[in-house]
Symmetry: C2
Subunit: 285 residues, 2 copies
DNA sequence: CGGGTGTCATACCGCCAAGGTATCGCCCGT
DNA sequence: ACGGGCGATACCTTGGCGGTATGACACCCG
């Protein structure tokens, strides 16, 4: 045995993560585009190499051991790091420097146009591509698909990212115009008890689909199937049949600009500086 | 061409990192334990896959392109993440929970004994293994060889780590007892101009060896071959033939406890809490 | 209770690609 | 002009990855 072998191929990690997420060899194999037997063998070999049982499988069901849960978490992070390395290398090679910013539609508190204009006016500014994505903007920064993202703390996880706070916002409940609470000047969270979930995009109401786009959520609200508690800045973009009512005791939300904490790019640094300045200026009109 | 292939095997990354660090295919191949031709081919293939030139090699010399520098940095991080995943998985499998703490001999400001005692008294405390290492305690935390480390900011790089500040210290110059400055009550950095390097462990004086152990450095100081500027807490552990003189304008050093920022371990959290408390208590005696 | 079905493991095979050896091509120092 | 050093190329061998077929076992059903 050679226990000093402290590495594993990304292929093996990918395979394990697929099985660990699916908890089903057949489905995982299909997702990976290979047949099931090689997958079984690969997992066995991985377990032998690590000297650790990763999955408890009786003939009916597959579940993660403690070691397996560790490898799922850590393996996902490691794979993201590898993808990030590849993507950033490709970007560095194509000599057309640019920035990719991940934002959520309607989630920029209307700061984005001004930030982009101010940055574009900066000497040495580089083209900025905006990528809209509601659910995985943090992951996009971590794995190199984006150079920076607008995120909402503490709703979204910021581990592994450097951040600049742009704006602290209170929250409002979005309600159909005809709702029993729609006329109130303000609410407390307790007033919303018993209202249907989800409260925000990304939350997964049981048995329902994943809300991937805020328009879907707003539609659900309009139908009375959901109540959303969101940063107050979206009040400007509400559909005509919805109203936003301040929720006094909802925790305030912070709009942050996040980027990989080891980023070394001159352009990114300038963009961050500009964004912070614009936000500061907007803070005291 | 299949540009959607966003991953790379760890083997390829390891190979590239070796070449990028050595800037020499032959040496890199020897270090990797393979022959040179397969290594050349592997790098070429990697470049083809990424669609990017990584190394500028004329027949005499090898140097990194910009993309190559990116891949070196990012690849090292990704490989550390993979190693960390493997090690943490192995640890999680062997069901004997414990903590590994990386410290530098003499670099704990004498806080360690008290921290260990206080933690051991905590309910649910777990055995703590101390690993002494002067040069790569940060890397040990990042790649999973240690759960936490005592580091000195800003001397050591903290990116990617969560930290708790334990102690802010001013610095002293370590001098031979007979040195012309040894009698002074205090110094400024300017007084040390012209003194021989290195100033601290890990610094590499030109043409000399790497100082891997503080005893070596102290020996050099005693021989008049070096001057060290170090946190004042080491004054208690100086050899009889050395003295420490405060350097008034040296930037203060902060002793921090650092751990992987995505750590989820209950034991680690308790240890950090205890350490912070001990340090706070020690701060106001 | 016996056949059917779903699931993971095993057996066996073919082939690609990683690694080895030998050699080339090129630049350099002398 | 020549030998030495270095990376690239040519060619071969083989380990291991992936595929198909099948086994072993548990559960469901009529």
């Amino acid at each position: 045995m050679t226990p000093g072998d402290d590495t594993v191929e990304t292929r093996e990690l990918t395979y394990f993560v697929a099985v660990a997420e699916e908890l089903h060899f057949g489905r995982a194999a299909r997702r990976l585009g290979i047949a099931q037997p090689p997958l079984s063998r690969a997992i066995q070999q991985l377990e032998r190499r690590l000297g650790v049982r990763l999955l408890d499988r009786d003939h009916r069901t597959v579940e993660l051991t403690e070691a397996g849960e560790t490898l799922l978490r850590e393996g996902q992070a490691a794979l993201a790091a590898v993808s990030a390395a590849v993507r950033r290398t490709r970007r560095a090679g194509r000599h057309a420097p640019s920035l990719v910013l991940a934002a959520k539609p309607g989630g920029d508190a209307d700061l984005l146009p001004e930030i982009l204009a101010a940055y574009a006016a900066t000497p040495g500014a580089v083209p900025v591509d905006i990528v809209f994505n509601a659910l995985e903007r943090g992951a996009m920064v971590r794995d190199g698909r984006a150079d920076a993202a607008l995120l909402h703390a503490p709703r979204e996880d910021l581990t592994g990212l450097a951040v600049e706070e742009l704006l602290v916002e209170s929250q409002v409940a979005v309600l159909p115009r005809g709702h029993r609470l729609a006329g109130r000047a303000e609410l407390s969270m307790a007033d919303l008890d018993g209202e249907p979930l989800p409260r925000w995009p990304g939350a997964v109401p049981e048995g329902s689909f994943r809300i991937a786009e805020s328009g879907q959520l707003m539609h659900l609200v309009a139908l009375g199937r959901a109540v959303a508690v969101v940063p107050q800045s979206i009040r400007g973009n509400l559909r005509h049949d919805l109203v936003g009512v301040p929720v006094t005791d909802a925790p305030p939300t912070t709009l942050v600009l996040a980027w990989p904490q080891d980023a070394r790019s001159r352009a990114l640094a300038a963009f961050v500086r500009t964004a912070a300045e614009v936000a500061r200026r907007a803070g005291r009109p």
